[in-house]
Structures are given as C-alpha cells and as structure tokens.
C-alpha cells in the first residue's frame, strides 16, 4: 500500500513503504507495557532507595553494571562506523551509518538512564564534574560517556530533522544543514571519546588491585583490560549492527542493505575479533602466571567454584571468540547469510559473556581466605528496569525506522547520506 493511504502517512518519508498504523501500534504495544513496568520499577528504586534491589555490601554491583558494560560495548558500532566512513573514507559503509547512530544513541542513553538509578544519590551526580578525582577510571567513564552522548544527540538530530514534516520548517532545515557539516568533526570527536571510555570501562575493573581476579598489569598508565575492551568493542560493534539490520529486514521482509555491506562488516568484525582473541589469550596467560600469583592468588583458586569453572574461560575465548572470528572472516562461511549472522551472534554473546565475567564473577569470588563464594539473584525491580531499557531501545528504533530515513532507498531520500 502507498504511504498516502496511511493515517500517519504525511509523516512517513515520501515513497517509503510502511505497515499500517494499527499494525505498527500493535507491534509497539507489548514493548510499551514492558517499558512502563520498567519505569515503575525504576521509580521504586529512586523513591525507596536501592533496598529494592538484591544487591548487598558484598555484591555491590549487579545486573545493572553488567547491562551498562554490555550495551555500551554493543553500541560501539556507532563510533566505529563513523570512524570508518568519515576518517577512513570507507564510503561503502554509509548505508548502515544512520542505523549505527540510532543504535549507538539508544545504547548510550539507556546505559546513562540505568546509571542514574544505580547510584544511591542521583541528586549528587554533578559532584563528579565539580570535584572530580582524576585518578578514578569512573571519572573518565562519566566524562567521556556524557560528552559522547551529547555527540550522539548531535548526530541523531539531523536524522530526526530529515523527517518529512519537520523539514518543512525552514529554520530547522538550515539548522540541519549546518549541523550536518559538523558531522565528520563529530565523528572524529566521538571516536576519540569512545576509545577512551570503552577503555576506561575495562580499566574500571583492571585497576582493582584488591580483586586479583580482575586486576591486570599496566600497559603505559592503563591496565591491559583497557585495550582489550576497546578491541572487543570495535570487533563486535559491526556484528551487532549486522544483527540489528538483519532483524529489521526479517521483520519488515525487505532488503535494506546490499550483501557486500554485510560481507564487509563481517570481515572487519572477524579480523578484529581474531586480533582480540590473540591479545586476550596472551593477557590471560600473563595474568594466570605472573600478575595473579604475585598477589598471592594461585590461578586454580578462581576456577574451583561452580558454575564459574574453566569451561567459562574456554567458552569466552574459543567458542565465542575464535569460532565467530573464523565464521566471519572466511569466504566459504561468510558468503552464506546464515553462517555470517550466527558468527555475528556468537561474537555478541562473547562480548556480553566477557563483560559478565568481569563484573559478576569478580565479585562472586572470595578475596580473604575465610570468605565464601557468593551468590546473588537480581530482584524483579532490577530485571524490570533492565527490560525497560531493552523495550526503550526497540521503541525508539521502531519509531526512527518508521518516520526517519535510516536506510538508503533507491534514489531520493538518502541523497544527503551519501553527502553529494
């Protein structure tokens, strides 16, 4: 059916095919419910305090930190694609650029929202900027994420302004054009910022001298995890973009980007993942044989507690590292959508697992000889707010997809995208 027939047709880009409004709302409604519950749960946490969660003095970080690290890592596709397109001039990746920006925006805003609940005194957030402790990785993270979120907004706005109705406002159009000139600069700035906070997020745990499971020796001023996190993030970012695009394609039943874009993304992802796996393996060996023993902790001590046995380590490096690296790189598998996407999926699982291990396993393991191994199960409030963020993401993306020109359509709409 043609867009004109739709109730909200005049908001949809000219000539774009979209499902009818009722069907669209039907698709949104369950997500809206999830979001509503999430918002309610978050409200509880803000009003009654963090006693609403199942975190405690020993398990001071929980599901939320895992979520933050996870989605920020997956959101890395945004800056990395921007980097590839604007800095390295890989024009062939333009088609997924807008999606990358939207996904990035969703991930980062979601993470910041969760952080807002996770701290005990949100009203004091600005102390970090007013009395910053420059030694703290968390300060670095806070600064970079805040700045980069602003950058993402600035990158997102032009896309929003390209909406069919909004473009009618002349001043907006002017604004959009000006802003768009800025985008390459923003991409550069964003890249810098992202490199730093992806790293700092790794540093967050790498510096914990008191947690030998997470502590890593320094390279320059940063612990090795600093670089590992950057590597893993840029390696899996493109994979996640592939997954998102593929999902949208299957949902809408429409081809959005050409196969070779996928192939390209897969290649980038695969190669970087390979490098990451190599680096990670070396780092692990150094840690097991040097760093940890020097602190008085024998390596075996970490892996005697179920479910965190050595299989976890194996899965993280081989199953979710080496394997997808192969799947994504080699022609024979990468040519096939199925293999390519499963490779991408594995890669994403891998990075999530890595973040999980760094956050949760670190806290679960004992430090003092007379400590015990700890367990923790999130409360429904934690899970609900988690779900809320996911739902928020889906909703924002769906709206963007429906009303904004995310993907190139033959001719017309994406003419700015290709910047000619």
């Amino acid at each position: 059916m043609s867009s004109a027939a739709l109730a909200d047709g005049r908001w949809i880009a000219r000539g774009e095919e979209r499902v009818s409004l009722p069907r669209f709302l039907a698709w949104l409604s369950p997500w809206v419910v999830v979001l509503a519950i999430g918002v309610y749960a978050a409200g509880l946490c803000l009003y009654y305090g963090l006693n609403q969660t199942n975190m405690d003095n020993r398990f001071a970080f929980g599901l939320w930190i895992f979520l933050d690290l996870g989605i920020i890592a997956l959101g890395a596709g945004a800056f990395f694609t921007g980097f590839l397109v604007y800095i390295l001039k890989r024009a062939e990746l333009r088609p997924i650029l807008n999606t990358a920006v939207v996904v990035g925006f969703i991930c980062y805003s979601g993470a910041v929202a969760i952080l807002g609940i996770d701290v005990g005194q949100p009203l004091r957030f600005w102390f970090t900027f007013w009395h910053p402790n420059t030694h703290s990785m968390l300060t670095e993270v806070t600064f970079c994420i805040t700045c980069y979120l602003t950058v993402l907004c600035l990158e997102y706005i032009p896309i929003v302004l390209r909406n069919r109705q909004l473009r009618k406002l002349p001043s907006f159009l002017v604004f959009e054009h000006q802003l768009h000139k800025l985008v390459p600069v923003l991409a550069g700035v964003g890249t810098l910022l992202s490199f730093f906070h992806q790293g700092s997020l790794g540093g967050l745990y790498g510096v914990l001298r008191g947690r030998p499971f997470a502590f890593r020796q320094g390279v320059f001023i940063w612990p090795s995890t600093f670089f590992l996190f950057i590597l893993s993030a840029i390696a899996t970012g493109p994979s996640f973009l592939m997954l998102v695009t593929a999902t949208v394609e299957s949902v809408t039943g429409r081809r959005l980007v050409s196969n070779d874009v996928f192939r390209r993304l897969g290649l980038i992802s695969g190669v970087l993942l390979g490098i990451y796996v190599a680096a990670k393996s070396i780092d692990t060996l150094i840690w097991l044989n040097r760093t940890s023993p020097s602190e008085g902790f024998a390596a075996w001590q970490y892996y005697i507690y179920k479910p965190f046995g050595t299989p976890v380590l194996f899965a993280e490096i081989v199953l979710f590292g080496l394997l997808p690296a192969f799947l994504l790189t080699f022609r024979r598998t990468a040519e096939r959508r199925g293999w390519l996407l499963s490779g991408a999926a594995l890669a994403c699982c891998g990075i999530l697992m890595n973040r999980f291990v760094m956050t949760v396993q670190t806290l679960a393991l004992p430090t003092l000889p007379f400590d015990e191994f700890l367990r923790y199960t999130p409360s429904w409030q934690e899970i609900a707010s988690f779900g809320g963020v996911i739902a928020y993401g889906v909703i924002v993306y769906s709206l963007s997809y429906r009303y904004l020109p995310l993907f190139p359509k033959s001719g017309g709409e994406n003419s700015h995208v290709s910047g000619n």
């Binding site: 001298r209 008085g296 000889p369």
Partner: protein, 261 residues
C-alpha cells in the same frame, strides 16, 4: 609532624565477645534496622569466626575483628572514588570516608578486598524516642551512601578541641582512643601511632608473630594482627591455609607452651 594511627589486634586474646562491635555501632550512631541482614547491615567493626576446619577435639577456632584497614599505599578505595569522597588524611593517615560527598556508586566497595565498606541500603531509623540516645559529634548518614570506620573521628575532634582550648598544638594521646579499643575487655585491640618508633604498638606491629591481611596485594594496611598459632597466621594469605591445619594446630600448642613456660 604527621602521625600514622594504626592498630595491633592480638587474636590470641580475642574471645569473640563482640564488645567492640556494639561499642563501635553505639559510638557511630549505627541504627539497628530490623530489615537489615548479614549482607546488608552496617558493621564498621565486624568480628568474624576463624576455624582450622577440623572436627572434634582437634578443632580450633579464633575470632578476627575486621574493620577498615586504613591502607597506606595505593589505597584501593581512594583511587577509585570518582568524586573525592575518600581520602587518606596527610596528618593522621586515617582513610576518611565522607558520606555527604558520596554518590553511592559503590565502586569503592568492589575495590576493597577486606569488605570493610558498607552501603546504607535504608534510611536510618530508630524506635520512638531512641534518637535521644544518639551520640553527638557523629552525624547520622542518609540512605544511598557508603560508610566505614573513620577511627572514631568524633573523638579525634574532641581531643583536638580540648588541646586547642588548653593552648596545646598536639593532642593528648589519652584523649583519642577509638571506641572498639576502649571497649575490648581483654585489651586485644591496641591503638597507637605507627610512625612513632617509641610507641609500644608500633613495636608490636613489627614483632615476630604480627601479620597483615592480604599483605602481598601491597596496600600496606595499618591494622596489624598477631597470633602465636600458625594456623591463625595462615589465614592472612589465600592458598596458604591449605597447609595441614592439624600440624599448625599442634605447632601452636607447642609455641604457646614455649611462650608460657
């Protein structure tokens, strides 16, 4: 002329009565919240039980009071706090936690290997009227912030003020004794200035059987422990207590023999 306040805790003298815990909580206006559990409560001073893991009359147990170790070097919590709510005081070496500055991110709690930091999961509250029994000089904390042992800083304030009123610069050592030290019925907890070589506590800290928890991490705690029993000392570092406890228990017996006779 900066002091380095620290402690030596003689585990052979600790009967695990818990006086230090109660005195500490009373001094620092810690509420007894019914909803708090072993993992969500506030215990700036916490006595934990050690066992050599043997059954029957080979079994040995000991008690170890855990408080903030006031790490001197690369103090983990100080490094990680994003907004300078923790600092090592130059004049006293006390690791100071500032609940009013605290954002409640709990990063410091994950950083502390001794689990000596506690989060206020609830707003403090007391049964009707009990707020009259709050100790002046210690402000009660609000929910959503981290707190820990500040070495009874209210007492340090009082000592400083008393000194100033008397026209003295230095405080009188007798005026500044943390609540747990004052409370210990066996004087197992000893408090002093580790920077002063004449201070008996400083000397004890370097005696043969003195040790520190997780010393190899290199945080230089200013809380020392002390025991004549080998199996108790083996609790300082991970992986070491795996050495046959039976033997260490026997050693300990002989050692105390030597000590006593």
């Amino acid at each position: 002329m900066s002091a380095r306040y620290g402690m030596v805790i003689d585990l052979d003298r600790c009967t695990g009565c818990g006086s230090c815990m109660v005195a500490c909580a009373a001094e620092n206006n810690v509420p007894a919240l019914p909803q708090a559990t072993a993992r969500t409560g506030l215990t700036p001073m916490l006595v934990r039980r050690l066992s050599n893991g043997l059954e029957g009359n080979l079994g040995r147990e000991a008690f170890i009071p855990i408080l903030c170790m006031h790490c001197e070097h690369e103090t983990p919590c100080v490094h990680v706090c994003p907004q300078q709510a923790v600092e090592v005081d130059a004049a006293t070496g006390i690791v100071m936690q500032m609940p009013q500055r605290c954002l409640g991110c709990r990063y410091c709690m994950t950083a502390c290997p001794y689990h000596a930091r506690y989060f206020n999961w609830w707003d403090p509250s007391w049964p009707a009227g009990m707020e009259k029994s709050l100790n002046p000089g210690v402000a009660s904390r609000m929910r959503g912030v981290v707190e820990k042992c500040n070495l009874c800083h209210a007492r340090f304030h009082a000592a400083k003020e008393k000194a100033a009123a008397a026209g003295r610069r230095e405080i009188d050592a007798a005026d500044y004794i943390p609540a747990c030290v004052e409370a210990c019925p066996t004087r197992a907890i000893r408090f002093g200035n580790l920077a002063d070589p004449n201070d008996p506590v400083a000397q004890e800290a370097h005696s043969a059987n003195a040790f520190r928890l997780l010393a190899r991490i290199g945080t230089e705690p200013k809380v020392y422990y002390k025991s004549d029993e080998a199996w108790v000392r083996s609790m300082a570092e991970p992986g070491e207590q795996s050495g046959s406890p039976v033997r260490s228990a026997d050693n300990s017996r002989n050692q105390s023999e030597v000590q006593h006779v």
